[in-house]
C-alpha cells in the first residue's frame, strides 16, 4: 500500500502538472498563434528553441536552469532583486522548469491546429464584421479545440512523467519537490520494491489512459 509520503508525492505531482498545464495553455496559445501566422524571419529560430526540450537530455536543461536561477545566474539575480529569493529547490522553480520542459508538447499541437484551419475561416469572420481579436476567440480557438485537448493532455502527462529536470532543479525534498517519479527512484534505491510497484503500476495505468484519451481524439478531428 502507498504510505503517506507516496500520497504526498502524488498530490504534489498532480498540483505541479495542473499549474504547469494551465500556464502552458495561457502562454503557449499566443506563441502558437504567432508561430502559425507570422512571416517573420525569426519564426524558424523561435520554433527550434521551443522544440529544443524534445531532443535535449533533461539533465542538460535542468543543469542550465540550475545555473541561471542560482545566486550568480541572471534569473537568480532578478528573483533576488524582486525579493522572491532563489527558485531552485522550490515549487515555483519546479513549475518554471516544467513549463520550459513541456513547452513543445503544448505549443506544437495548438500551432498545428491553427495552421490546418487556414486563413479562410478568419477571412469569413472578417467579412462578417468580426475584429481580429473577436475572430481569435470566437473562431480560431473553437476550431482549434482538438489541438487544445491534445496539448492539455500531452502537457499534463509529460509534466507528470518528468524526472531528470526535477532531480537537477528541485532535488528530492519531501512535500516540496519530491514528485512521483523521484519517489519511485528513492524507493528503489532503498530497496522498497513493493512501494515502487504501487507507484510504478499506477504510472503505467495513467500513461495508458492518457494514450487512450488521445486516440479517442482522432475520430473527432476527422469530422
Amino acid at each position: 500500500m502507498p504510505d503517506s509520503a507516496d500520497l504526498a508525492a502524488i498530490r504534489l505531482t498532480l498540483e505541479l502538472a495542473t499549474v504547469t498545464t494551465l500556464l502552458l495553455l495561457l502562454f503557449g496559445t499566443p506563441l502558437a498563434w504567432w508561430l502559425a501566422r507570422t512571416h517573420s524571419r525569426w519564426k524558424r529560430t523561435v520554433g527550434a528553441l521551443v522544440a529544443l526540450p524534445l531532443v535535449l537530455p533533461p539533465t542538460v536543461l535542468g543543469f542550465y536552469l540550475l545555473i541561471t536561477m542560482g545566486p550568480e545566474g541572471p534569473i537568480g539575480r532578478l528573483t533576488q532583486a524582486l525579493g522572491l529569493g532563489l527558485l531552485p529547490f522550490t515549487f515555483p522553480g519546479l513549475v518554471l522548469a516544467s513549463f520550459l520542459y513541456s513547452l513543445p508538447f503544448v505549443v506544437q499541437p495548438i500551432q498545428n491546429a491553427f495552421e490546418t484551419m487556414g486563413h479562410r475561416p478568419l477571412e469569413v469572420a472578417a467579412t462578417l464584421r468580426a475584429s481580429p481579436l473577436d475572430t481569435f476567440f470566437t473562431v480560431a480557438i473553437p476550431l482549434a479545440r482538438p489541438g487544445f485537448l491534445s496539448a492539455a493532455i500531452l502537457g499534463f502527462a509529460h509534466t507528470v512523467g518528468e524526472f531528470g529536470v526535477v532531480l537537477m532543479m528541485g532535488g528530492n525534498i519531501p512535500g516540496v519537490t519530491r514528485v512521483v517519479s523521484v519517489q519511485i527512484y528513492s524507493h528503489v534505491e532503498a530497496m522498497e520494491y513493493s512501494h515502487a510497484h504501487w507507484l510504478s503500476g499506477g504510472m503505467v495505468v495513467f500513461a495508458f489512459v492518457v494514450l487512450l484519451a488521445l486516440q479517442s481524439q482522432r475520430p473527432a478531428r476527422r469530422s
Partner: protein
Amino acid sequence: MTIEARFSLSWPGFSLEVDLQCPGKGVTALFGRSGSGKTTLLRAIAGLERVEGGRLVVNGEVWQEQQLFLPTHRRPLGYVFQEASLFPHLSVRGNLEYGRRRVGGGDASHFEAIIALLGIEPLLERGTERLSGGERQRVAMARALLTRPRILLMDEPLAALDQERKNEILPYLEQLHAELSIPMLYVSHSPDEVARLADHLVVLEAGRVVGAGALTEMLARLDLPIRLGEEAGVVLEARVVQRDPQWHLAQVAFSGGTLWVRDKGLPVGHAVRVRILARDVSLALRCVTGTSIINTVSGVVTGLGEDTHPAHCLVGLDANGTPLVARITRRSAAALKLEPHRRVWAQIKGVALIT
C-alpha cells in the same frame, strides 16, 4: 452611385492593372478565365488582399485611398466564397447570428425575410455538416445578407457545385437580383450564369479589363464573344405577350419583333430575359418559309467579327435597335455577300427563356 476601383499589383507570374467604374446598383459580373485576376480584384475590393496604392470608393464612401485602408471587418460588405465557408463549430442558426449580432442584431422581420428569400427555414437548427452543397451556399448567402451589407461580393458561388445544385440555387440568385436594392459583384467564368444574372459585364483578361458595359451591349460586341467561345450569344429583355396552350408555347416581344419560346407558365405581361446563342442563329437573304424554324427576325448587318475557329465568323445584326449575333461559316458570309447595312433574316433555332 458608382463603384470606383483602381488597383495595380504585380506578383511573380501575375499582375493586376485595373481602373474600373461600375454602377452602384444591379449585378455586375466580373467575367474571365481562371487566372484572369477576377477573384484577386474581388478580394482587393473586400480588403482581404491589401494592394498598396489602390483606391476604392463604394457609393461615395472611400474604403481605400493613399494611406487610408479600411480593414475588411469595418467595410459594410457581404462576401460569399466559392466553397461555402460555414463555421463548423456553429449550427446553421449560429452561423446566421454570427454576423447579424455584430451589426447590432436588427429586427426579426428582416431576419424572417432573408430566411424566406433563400428558403432555409427548415435548416435553421441543423449542424452545418448535414447540409448539401447547395444548402450550405444558400446559408452562406443569407449569413452575408444578414449583416445588411451595402454591397454583396460573390466569388463564383456556384463553381464548386454540380449542375443539379446549380439549378437549385440559380432561382434564389435571380430572386436576390430582383428583390435586393444593393449592388452585387459576381465573379464567374460561366457565360450561362452571367447571361442569367448580370446587368453589367466586366471582362478581365490577364489582370486587365478588356471590356466593361451593360450586358446586352457587351454580349453583342463582336470583339468580345470570342472570349465566350461556344457560348457566345446575346441576351434580350422581353415581355410575355401571349400563350398558346395547344402547343405549349409562349410568345415574347422585344423591340426587334416577337419570338416563340417554350411556355414556362409565366403570365402575359411578365418581364423575361431571353438568351440566343450565336450558334443557334443562321442567316438568309429572304424570309424563308417551309422550314421547321418558328422564329425569324429581320435585321441589318452591323459588322463581322472573328470567331474562335477560322472557319467561322460572327455577324452582328441590328434588329430594330436590339443587337443579335449569328455564328456562320466564312464561306456562307462570302456567298451571301454579307456586309454592313445589308438586310437579312435571322432564323433562330433555339431561344432560351432564362428568367
